[in-house]
Symmetry: C2
Subunit: 376 residues, 2 copies
């Protein structure tokens, strides 16, 4: 039996979006779900208890970073990632592929694997699909990912095709190398750039390998939104109904809602934590640059509609002061709020599916957030 199981609760009568639950060895999470990113075995600025307090049900951590530092051997010796970082709910680790291709220097891609230099100390490393799985087995996350090549945007058809075919061969090797199927579920990753026939080819090839879940990778990498939606619309219907579907690297409010509308169950992104550290917060009325001088004497909460600790206890003026003064509490509060904003958004998405009105919810949210003004 697979380590994770998808339970479909209902489909939205208005849109077909799915409400469900994913059951893992460390408990269940409700879908559609947003997964906060804890790159280096910590969601930047947040404690595990704070994450639980804002209803984070699953987090993601990055294999590439943990392999580099502290090293998967130390995490394994600690009893795995859950124990190391004191998080007893589900964890997903990526394969490291995306970081190898985006962060490291001088990468050299061969059929056998990828040679690259560390972004930390310049040391040389060689990662194969087997090695990516071995590291993830040591880390011990509930969901692990096949090692793939994430191609840039734009990318020629021919290269995208060659790359996805290699990604399929690597996925097969990952599956063969995976030793811990009872406790960790290995997901395959559909690639293919923005070419419909390549997405279809990739999905079909991966389906033959029968993974317990499927991700859609290589999107939200700079392509127009409509291209992403098109790719989802041609790929999702090919994926099995009884398995979770994960859209990688997506976390802006519009993409989360549009993804859920198209049948996606899981999302992750550094957006809420990253923009929070830079002083931008998400509110029910749109983005707010809290560092702006106009908030210097604004003693209202960042988002009066928000139930988070930051909005319940501190003013825009105070948080602006903390950020201007370089104080840690400032980035803690903006991060806390942004994560809660997206997790609450997903709660609302799930409720809208339950109530058969996700399209209405989408329209109301877009109007209030200001997306309609932006796109006009």
């Amino acid at each position: 039996m697979s380590a994770v199981r998808y339970e479909l609760i209902k489909k939205c009568g208005q849109t077909g979006a799915r409400l469900g639950k994913v059951h893992t060895p460390h408990g269940s999470f409700d879908t559609p779900a947003f997964m906060p990113v804890g790159t280096q075995a910590t969601v930047k600025g947040m404690s595990p208890e704070e994450l639980k307090g804002i209803n984070a049900q699953i987090i993601l951590s990055n294999t590439y970073h943990l392999y580099m530092r502290p090293g998967e051997d130390i995490v394994k010796e600690a009893g795995g990632l859950h124990s190391f970082m004191n998080w007893n709910r589900p964890i997903l680790t990526d394969s490291g592929g995306f970081q190898v291709f985006s962060l490291s220097d001088l990468r050299d891609i061969k059929e056998e694997g990828v040679t690259f230099k560390s972004h930390i100390d310049g040391s040389k490393h060689f990662i194969t699909p087997e090695k990516a799985i071995e590291i993830q087995n040591d880390l011990g996350a509930d969901i692990i990912m096949a090692f793939d090549e994430c191609i840039p945007y734009p990318c020629e058809f021919e290269y995208a095709k060659k790359s996805l075919e290699r990604t399929t061969r690597w996925a097969k090797r990952c599956k063969e190398a995976h030793k811990n199927t009872e406790k960790q579920a290995l997901f395959g990753i559909v690639q293919g750039g923005i070419y419909k026939e390549l997405r279809e080819q990739s999905a079909k090839e991966l389906l033959e390998l029968d993974f317990p879940g499927y991700a859609i990778g290589g999107l939200s990498v700079g392509e127009p939104a409509q291209d992403m939606y098109d790719m989802l619309e041609c790929t999702v219907p090919l994926l099995p109904e009884d398995k979770p579907r994960y859209l990688m690297g997506v976390g802006s409010p519009d993409y989360l809602i549009e993804g859920a509308l198209r049948g996606i169950d899981m999302f992750d992104c550094v957006l809420p934590t990253r923009i929070g550290r830079n002083g931008t917060v998400l509110t029910s009325q749109g983005k707010m640059i809290i560092r702006d001088a106009k908030y210097a004497r604004d003693f209202t909460p960042m988002d009066p509609e928000c139930d988070c600790y930051a909005c319940q206890n501190f003013s825009r003026a105070y948080i602006r002061h903390l950020l201007k003064a370089g104080e840690v509490l400032g980035i803690r509060l903006t991060t806390w709020h942004n994560l809660r904003f997206l997790l609450k958004l997903m709660e609302n998405v799930r409720k809208a599916i339950m109530d058969d009105r996700l399209q209405d919810f989408r329209n109301e949210f877009f109007e209030a957030f200001g997306y309609n003004k932006i796109t006009k």
Copy 2:
């Protein structure tokens, strides 16, 4: 009636140290007390709730910094510092004197006041005793401090004498300028370098002004420990029994205990937060450089005897990883622990006074912490 009142609970039969309570408009705190420092209206890395959770009963904030940023007018408009930073327990603000003399450039000391340049933007400012009180009235702390000159160490007798006499004249002007005596208690500051007769002169002059509390300033600025102890031994007996005594800028475990032994009620220092950010933690067995490679695979708590959140939930190996990786949670956890360590130390000091055994406690603590080895 003064805004604060000191209640003597008992004296240690073994040492004469005092156990007491200070009552303020925002509640009481037990003494001897350590006050965590929240320079910029935040104790670095900590939320107000976390501070309450480790039994911080009063905190200190810095007038100089708040005057510079965000400006005392904004804090006043927020309803004062308690409201601005969401801390409803007692607060003490210093006068800004120490920072004017230690942080700013090109200061020019005249009888009327001090001209100096901001450490942030180089802007020119002129602070008088009256201005220091006006700013502190706007900030609204429960205890505010007279504007003094904190002389460096070493300092010639003649300058130290001239300076303390000006500090007395400034203290008189501060008292006359203080408009909010019902809600804020103004403390005088005894100066005089390491000269006994000057300390005595300063104390006597200030006593004539009848402040509701007295601080001892200009110590722990580089002089040998014995000089500090000598100054306490000649100054404290001159101070009134029915008012709180505050030793400024002191926060190492040995100084806290030795100060309490000599009749001090209040202490403050950036030491626990500052060394925590640099990766040094205080433990019952002495200081620990948690960044050291030897802790890379040490899965025990920082201090197995500690009851703080960090020690109850995370290992040395994990915290070391966080610090090496530059993660905010790392400095949060070391800060949290160090503050709890000192606040717990003060709880133990108070218990030892209650049990008439502060000298025994001092000897046991020094032995376990390793101070005896260091001084041998």
